[in-house]
């Protein structure tokens, strides 16, 4: 009996388990998936919790519901991965799993402790909140419900971060939320980012930066946070610029799982070095990555994990047959950006092509406007939660192509 092991049962790991269960012969293979947490979080939904659009119950479901019955599911911390020996040690019962193939889908998480002062007890979850965890998003929601206004600063500690558009969406939704509550004139919104502009890619950055400006949101580019001075209620950059806040919403440093670092498999941020086109790890030919666990320079987002899926599965199957993996993954990302007032913007891009304006042809639903606000884009995003739970996680057919297409885009 051979073993196909998946570490992590989030978006990427769950999709891989479903696909492999369809493909591998159960007489020959057992599939095991390991995760520390029994709850599956719909992470894109965290964004809506601070504004009361979603409640915590809307974004959680049991992981088991999305995994096929023939897959062994083990809920445990992972103690160590030993890729040279093709085995993994779990904390639970000190179990050792020997594998033939390993897919690392352990994702990334926020690490506020990387920035001095950021998670100081005096301020953390009091007037300093992340929204990349369910707890942070929920507590921020409670804070905003009764906030009378002041200076809200949104800060990104360092790149890369999960879903690089989420900070922008947060700003647009906050602007709308404060309008609805009738206190927009009492709130100053500041966006302090280490990037040179609103977004990572030039054309989208210019358009999205213009939208920030139109909404009266103050952009502070090239701001690299050194520390938080919570006594003074200010964030300080390495070049000693202070930005005062009444409310600090933070996107702390994102890092891969600790076990990746402990096992000596990661880079400085515990992301696993892998080939950006084949998704095979650089060092171990039977170890592969999906989603934000790897160091490939694509957006760390669920849509990207989805676009990786078919290529990853094909390459693993090729490897099982003794064939070379195909360099097919192009870094494709597709993001609905909530822009407030029931509108949204859609961007579609890959390693080579930055987000461009035009139309995105989506059979049955589209077309959606690219890099331009529309009501349809907002409804596309809201509809996506249903598609995520009911189709995407189970590895069903989605009306999106893995590789990016230029159809509809204006150059």
């Amino acid at each position: 009996m051979k073993t196909f092991l998946i570490l992590g049962a989030g978006t990427g790991g769950t999709m891989v388990a479903n696909k492999m269960a369809e493909i591998l012969d159960p007489q020959e293979w057992r599939i095991i998936i390991v995760d520390k947490d029994e709850t599956h979080y719909y992470q894109p939904g965290f964004l809506f919790i601070p504004f009361g659009t979603y409640s915590p119950a809307d974004v959680v479901k049991p992981k088991r519901n999305f995994l096929p019955p023939q897959v062994d599911v083990i809920f445990s911390d992972i103690e160590l991965i030993e890729p040279e020996k093709s085995r993994v040690k779990l904390s639970k019962d000190k179990k050792i799993i020997n594998y033939d193939y390993l897919v690392i889908a352990t994702g990334s998480d926020i690490h506020p402790e990387e920035t001095p002062g950021l998670d100081d007890e005096a301020a953390w979850l009091k007037n300093v909140f992340p929204f990349y965890t369910l707890e942070g998003a929920t507590k921020l929601g409670n804070f905003l419900k009764f906030w009378k206004g002041g200076r809200m600063v949104l800060n990104v500690s360092e790149m890369p971060i999960k879903c690089p558009v989420a900070p922008l969406e947060f700003l647009f939704l906050a602007d709308w939320f404060f309008h609805e509550r009738g206190i927009r004139d009492k709130v100053e919104i500041v966006f302090a980012t280490p990037l040179p502009g609103a977004f990572t890619k030039p054309r989208a950055s210019a358009i999205l930066g213009g939208m920030l400006n139109d909404k009266g949101i103050n952009l502070q580019p090239d701001f690299n946070i050194m520390e938080v001075d919570h006594a003074k209620q200010a964030i300080r950059s390495y070049d000693e610029i202070d930005i005062d806040y009444d409310l600090l919403v933070t996107i702390p440093t994102n890092m891969g799982a600790e076990v990746i670092g402990n096992s000596g498999m990661g880079d400085e941020l515990n992301f696993v070095p892998a080939n950006k086109h084949t998704l095979q790890t650089d060092k171990w030919e039977n170890v592969w990555i999906i989603g934000d666990a790897g160091n490939v320079p694509a957006s760390k987002a669920g849509s990207v994990a989805h676009f990786m899926l078919d290529i990853l599965i094909e390459n693993i199957q090729r490897h099982m047959e003794g064939l070379e993996p195909l360099p097919e993954f192009d870094g494709h990302a597709n993001c609905y950006i909530e822009s407030g007032f029931e509108k949204g913007v859609l961007i579609d891009f890959n390693y080579e092509v930055e987000p461009l304006p035009g139309k995105y042809p989506l059979p049955g639903f589209g077309p959606f406007s690219l890099l331009k606000e529309s009501y349809a884009n907002h409804w596309g995003k809201m509809m996506f939660r249903w598609m995520y739970w009911n189709i995407l996680l189970k590895g069903g057919e989605m009306p999106f192509e893995s590789q990016m297409t230029m159809a509809g885009k204006w150059e």
């Binding site: 040179p196 990572t200 390495y238 320079p297 694509a298």
Partner: protein, 100 residues
């Protein structure tokens, strides 16, 4: 010889052909950024160029501070505002891949 006048740069100011890079050109590119190169700068530039040979990409801020043994704060003093991007530019490398 390649000089700042005849070297091809992209719209963000990065050298298009890596082979055009010379130490003299690095000095000129640095000057354009308002930096006069010292030994401390060269330690960082050499580290980044070596790192890029290994990994095929310009190192990120974290990789530089960890690998070259210099604090992030000192990096900001040597290369004010976005050091990773500035070093990459002066060292004739592409844009660091943290920006995705």
């Amino acid at each position: 010889m390649t000089t700042l006048e005849n070297v091809e740069l992209n719209e963000e100011g990065f050298i298009v052909n890596a082979a055009d890079w010379t130490e003299e050109l690095a000095g000129a590119l640095a000057e354009k950024e308002g930096i006069a190169l010292t030994d401390a700068h060269w330690t960082i530039i050499n580290f980044c160029r070596e790192k890029a040979v290994d990994s095929g990409a310009a190192p990120t801020l974290r990789q530089i501070s960890k690998g070259a043994g210099v604090t992030t704060k000192d990096l900001f003093k040597l290369f004010p505002k976005g050091p990773a991007k500035k070093v990459a530019k002066i060292s004739g490398l592409g844009k660091p891949e943290g920006c995705v």
